[in-house]
Each structure stands twice: as C-alpha cells, then as structure tokens.
Symmetry: C2
Subunit: 192 residues, 2 copies
C-alpha cells in the first residue's frame, strides 16, 4: 500500500516533469495532480531534489520496460532491433504531438550544472542508455552485419547524443523530421 503511494507520486510527477520540466514543476503542483497531502510527499521524499533523484530511477525503469521486448525480439537482427527501437519512440512522440523529448536528456540539460549529485546520477542513466546500443552493436559486429570505424562504445554514445539533440529540435519544429533525419543518418551513413 505504502509503496503504491510512493509510486503513484513518482508516476504523476514523472508525467508533469516530462511535460513541463523539473525546474518548472512545483511540489504543490505534483501534490495536487497526485491528490495526496503534503505529508505523504515528505514521508517518501526529503525534498524536491531527493524526489528528482528518485525520478531519474523511475524514468530509467520506465525506459527499461519499454525497450525490453524490443531488445529481446531475437526474430529481428540486432540492427533491425535498433531501427525498431527508434521507430517505436518516434511513434510515441507522434502520439504526444512531438512534445516532451527524453526525460533523462531534459533533466541532464536542466540540472547538470545545478547539482553534482544530479549530474552524476543522470550521467549514469545516459550510460545505461548507451549500454543498450553497445550490446546491439557488438551483436551486429559479431554476426558480421556491421563493421565499425570507432569502438561500439564510442558509436553508442554518439548515437545517444545525436538522438538527444534531435529530440530537442523535434520539440521546436513539432514535427517528426529531426527524428527521421537522425534515423537516416545513423542507419544509412554511420552504420551502413
């Protein structure tokens, strides 16, 4: 029961922060949207920073849940799984009218300079994201489907950053074009 309340506050906060940013979202607003009293919030979280740090874990788990079935689908070759991954996120953003972007990338941009603790945690979260691509790239190389000019780790981090940047431009163009371009450049050029 208690775990449910904590998770409910995190889920409601995750949605608000994903839509409008961390600095732009107040605790009061989260309490109101979650329909819980102030005491509940402070029972689970020390302060807004502590809530934010837990939010990063929440987003990471959410992301892992979204990508798990895609990565586990061995019926597709590793590079095709990567295409499916980016295609399914493009579909998610389409459904959300090209808003939001990557919650971890957003928080990294917003909070990277404001708190070393946030910085470290968000950097690790980006590492986990890159690790997904490292494993797919390594699998593709081992299968003889891909030759890389740089290491799989370098390529993976570059892909994550290029995606984060494309998501930023998606938010101002309100179109799929930046994501489509990202996918073309990655699959037709970088990983060809």
């Amino acid at each position: 029961m208690k775990k449910d309340v904590r998770n409910h506050i995190l889920a409601v906060g995750a949605d608000l922060v994903h839509r409008q940013g961390f600095n732009n979202t107040g605790i009061q607003e989260i309490l109101k949207a979650a329909d819980v009293p102030k005491g509940s919030f402070y029972f689970y979280f020390e302060n807004k920073e502590d809530f934010g740090l837990n939010l990063v874990d929440f987003y990471e788990q959410q992301f892992a849940g979204m990508v798990k079935p895609i990565l586990a689908n061995k019926a597709e070759k590793p590079l095709q799984r990567m295409r499916t991954f980016f295609g399914s996120f493009r579909e998610f953003y389409k459904q959300n009218e090209y808003t939001r972007g990557c919650p971890v990338g957003n928080m990294a941009q917003e909070l990277g300079d404001l708190s070393a603790e946030f910085g470290g945690k968000l950097s690790c979260s980006i590492d986990s994201m890159a690790a997904v691509f490292v494993s797919l790239l390594d699998e593709a190389v081992a299968a003889g489907d891909l030759e890389l000019q740089q290491s799989s780790a370098e390529t993976a981090y570059f892909i994550v950053s290029a995606w984060h940047g494309a998501l930023v431009r998606m938010k101002v163009t309100k179109s799929p074009e930046p994501l489509e371009l990202f996918e073309r450049m990655v699959f037709d050029n970088l990983l060809r």
Copy 2:
C-alpha cells in the same frame, strides 16, 4: 543611452539564463544582477516571455560574432574552419568548467513545449546555426575536399543536433569527452 540599458539587461540576463536556465531565472534576479529598477525592465520588455524572445536574438548575435572571424578565415580550408569552430567552442566550455551548454539548445529544450512563439523563434535560430555548416559543407564539396552521402542541409542539421546532445552529456560528465567524441565521429567518420 537607452539602448545601452536594454543591452545591459539582456547581457546580464543572457549570462544568468545560460548558467541556470530560463525557467529557473526570475525577473527579480535579473534586475538585481543588472542593478536596474523594475521600471527599466518593463520599459524595454513586456514580460518575461518577451524578454526571453529578445534573449534568443541576443544569443544569435553573440554566436554570429563568435563565429564570424572563424568562418571568414579563408587561409583555412572549409573543413578545417569547421574543426576550428568546434575546437574554439570546446575551449570556451573548458574555460567554463564544462557548464552551460548551448543557450539556444537549452531554451529549445526548456521552452519548446511551453510556448509556440518560443518554439518558432528557437527553431529559426537552430536554422541559422545549421546554415553556417551548410555553407562550409557546400564549399568543401565544391573544392573537391568532401563527398557527402546526404545533402549538405541534412548533414548540417544532423551535426547541429549531435552537438546539442553532446553538450547535454558534457554538462553531466563535466568533461571534454563528449565534445571530443563528437568531433572524432563527425570528422573521422561522417565527413571523412
């Protein structure tokens, strides 16, 4: 004189917003840092949004001023000018201990979903940034120094986004590594 006060408020605000974000910076804070009365601010700017829109122009002019001498240096080949460009920004970030990131990219991320007017203006600002690279890439192609797989516009927008994403990761790793990786991937791979 009046123009100086307006410019002074913008310069002080530009620095604060670059360091801590737009949503995280209040008008009061800008007034205090600029040492001007409230009336001065509202003489030049309708409200915080209007100030922010003018800030985008300010950043664009600042950027143009920084890149002009690099682009005009015909002693360097176009791709070398592009390397010099990214190297000089890497040096800027080093001096700022890998904080801040791209002010336009930051605002695009923070405000792209919150105001259509901001979104349109920031999208145009990213267009101007891409235009710089389009012209360098076209020049390199014309000189026979480069063969592109995609159009110069597509390549330029991809480079801008990849840079924005690398700057986000720079803010959480507090190291030059994301920018150095970006430069290697762009010059040794994408534009090789």
